[in-house]
């Protein structure tokens, strides 16, 4: 078994109102970061796990996202995997 660290980035689904992102956007504008075009605020979940292969680690992380970490109605997610030596 190898050890992996999985980072799951969860963001509000495209096209869905993201009030938190909007508020941060407005705050950045008021600080005169006028070049800001869009802000989305999400969540980062870092999971350490053991798996025989990186593919298996990804499959397990995907299952975690579908069952708990992300709500498929409102959120999208991306998975990054690194092995821990």
């Amino acid at each position: 078994m190898n050890r992996y660290v999985v980072e799951v980035r969860i963001t509000p689904r495209e096209g869905l109102l993201d009030p938190e992102g909007k508020a941060v956007h407005n705050a950045l504008r008021s600080l005169e970061f006028e070049e800001v075009q869009d802000v989305r605020v999400g969540r980062l979940v870092r999971v350490e796990l053991t798996a025989p292969t990186p593919e298996e680690a990804r499959a397990r992380a995907d299952a975690m996202c579908r069952q708990l970490l992300a709500n498929p109605v409102t959120e999208d997610y991306e998975i990054d995997i690194d092995s821990i030596s």
């Binding site: 009030p19 708990l68 109605v73």
Partner: protein, 280 residues
């Protein structure tokens, strides 16, 4: 109907770690619905129902339990189950008791989820859609008005179609979202039970406190026996609380259960409709 004199309505209130409206729900069921004179301004129909049908037995069920103890109605109360970590309701749905709640709902039992209970029902997939952060990003605690969009459900038969109710809300994540197909189905099937409205009953954006799509405050599942709503009917059952408009939800549920029991009695069956066959 002569055989129902000893019947009691059994109401199970599920307590999750972080629930904080469970005692309000208990009181609304046991002390208000179950008391003949409990409802200030209660009609003769209510008093007659209490006289002929006896008491209401309400009890708490801790989330670690696996048995609902043969209820007629299950209430998932408001609060902040598991601190609302990850997403509101996301972790509560894995509580051991939720398996029994799902079975009870599948068998047609009445399940009422208010506020956090609504969020749990959505996360558990017992109701479609999701509740996300209020568009204002603020926690909102105030009185709102709701329009009864469907008075033909087991939860709303005590109301008139289109009746405007006054109830409190207290939530940070009450902004109902669902995809277009789901919204179309909810609309077409009359499953949107309550919408936010103004004092005259107009559903407007200004009257929508949290940004919910289609002004949705409450919906039922496809079978019509599971209701989720963000407002708190249990906090609007006594004049002292500022409104008695929420009492109709509890009265409707009782009427529905008693109608089912008397139908079962007339059919020669002694058990509750919601009890598994063969149970004593």
């Amino acid at each position: 109907m002569t055989s129902t004199a000893s019947v009691e309505l059994r109401v199970a209130v599920v307590t999750f770690p972080g629930s904080n409206c469970d005692h309000d729900c208990y009181r609304a069921a046991k002390d208000v619905l179950g008391a003949e004179a409990g409802l200030v301004g209660a009609g003769e129909a209510h008093r007659a129902a209490v006289r002929s049908h006896g008491k209401v037995e309400a009890y708490f069920v801790w989330h670690r339990e696996r048995d609902l103890r043969s209820p007629d109605v299950v209430i998932l109360p408001g609060g902040f189950s598991y601190g609302d970590y990850l997403r509101a309701g996301a972790i509560a749905r894995f509580s051991p008791i939720m398996e029994a709640v799902r079975r009870f709902a599948d068998e047609g039992g009445l399940v009422l989820g208010t506020c956090n209970g609504f969020q749990v029902l959505c996360e558990a997939g017992l109701l479609p859609g999701a509740l996300v952060r209020n568009r204002s990003l603020r926690f909102i605690s105030r009185w709102v008005r709701l329009r009864v969009e469907n008075a033909a459900t087991p939860f709303t038969s005590a109301y008139r179609q289109g009746q405007v109710l006054r109830m409190p809300i207290a939530h940070g994540e009450g902004n109902y979202v669902a995809d277009e197909a789901t919204l179309d189905r909810l609309e077409a099937d009359g499953r949107i039970v309550f919408r936010y409205c103004d004092a005259d009953g107009n559903v407007t954006d200004a009257a929508n406190p949290n940004g919910s799509m289609h002004g949705i405050a409450g919906i039922v599942n496809e079978a019509g026996n599971v209701l989720g709503l963000m407002p708190h009917p249990e906090r609007a059952v006594e004049a002292l609380l500022g409104s008695t408009d929420g009492a109709g939800v509890f009265e409707s549920m009782r009427a529905h259960v008693l109608a089912g029991l008397s139908a079962a009695a007339n059919a020669g069956r002694a058990t509750r409709a919601t009890e598994p066959a063969g149970r004593p």
